[in-house]
Amino acid sequence: MDNKINFQQLVEQFAKASGMSRNWSEQFVKSFFDIISEKVIEEGLVKVKGLGTFKLVATENRESVNVNTGERIVIEGHQKINFIPESELKEFINQPFSAFETIQLNDEQVEELARMDDESSNSAKEEAATSVSSDSAEQTEVKPVTKPVVLVGPLLPAGGARNGEAHHIHPAFRFIGKVLVWVLSVALALGVVAYAVWPALFVVLFKDVEPNRDGSGMSYTSQFEFEVQPADTINADTVIADTVIADTVVADTVVADTITEIGSFDISETESLASAEQAAVADRTASSGTLVLLASDEMRDLSEITAADTVNYLIVGELEKYVIGNGDTFTKLALKYYGSKKLWPYIAKCNNVDVNKLKAGDVVSIPILVNR
């Protein structure tokens, strides 16, 4: 698989298949390809039965843009060699995939495909969301929140509320946010009760995960496997939030008894209380989950953990050095350390490197980000 067969190897295989001498085979294979390359240039077309057609094709002048300078350049017309395999050969090559056929799509299917893309990126978050519940339920020691950070996000439509991504902070909301934090925490508490009592709501919210009730708890399987603690052990005190914390957070002591992020804030009078609660719970667990999970993953002291789903951060120091491995990208690192792909530019900025020239073995530093 994926080997490159060179001329000598090809001659060897041909000699074996044809039963001719090696010298003669070498001459034959050599003339075979020599004639093709010679004649395709001289005559512009060579047909070989069983293989296909080599053809000389002229391209016209075209304009392009120099990617580095942004300058417009003209690529002059030239001739190039095209190869069109015979249809029999084509079919033979495509045999492994011959079972597939072109399908006509209607609009719903197109949307579904788009949604599948979306959800695959959300699934990681949902996993985090569920594991936070168990994490926090296990907490025995509760650390006071030293520096609550209040983040106020713009309205998310009810349907998209579970997607706890990308709340851009609007400064005007900050003040209102503080005032309403407590109102919302009450709402959240109610929401948690509703959450515990009606797991059906959960099913509605996480349609793509199959709930599997067995009295004491639920287990979900999706891309990842995880377990949720019994719902009644989750109470308002342990459900946390996004404002987690803290100087000396050791992962296990992460907690919070305050809710600080207000996710779906503009939910107004027009929305029913129930749906507001649902949205709030889902949203909150989604984003807090990311953080707590990260914290427990990292298992090290962080001077500050910030919510992953906002945009404005200050770089205050270095979390650690990271050696780039094969296939690593800044977006992957951002996802790993901050829980959001969107924060990769901070890593790039901190390192001042050309993103496109990153190679395996390079050492980059991962910055500590603090909410502005």
């Binding site: 295989q13 390809f33 039965k49 072109t102 197109v110």
Partner: protein, 90 residues
């Protein structure tokens, strides 16, 4: 240049007759097919690389009717001429 002319040229170079040349060409093509079937590429200096590549599935739209089609993934044989051959074109 069609297949017949090609065989004539080939037989002239290798001192065999046309029908033998045709047979040997078929043998060579079979050998090549086996190589591609195994997922390997044929790389010949001075000529180029003949390689099987996978094309991803995609959604295409018929511009006149607006109907969307899901085109399945497929394997295609591609030829990439070597730089020496490209140089000769200029």
């Amino acid at each position: 240049m069609n297949n017949k002319q090609f065989l004539t040229q080939l037989s002239g170079k290798c001192s065999i007759d046309d029908s033998q040349a045709s047979e040997h060409v078929q043998t060579l093509v079979k050998v090549l097919q086996q190589i591609w079937h195994d997922g390997d590429a044929v790389s010949l200096s001075g000529f180029g690389v003949l390689e099987v590549r996978k094309k991803n599935e995609r959604i295409s739209v018929n511009p006149t009717t607006g109907i969307r089609m899901l085109v399945p993934p497929k394997l295609v044989l591609t030829f990439k001429p070597s730089s020496i051959l490209k140089e000769k074109l200029k």
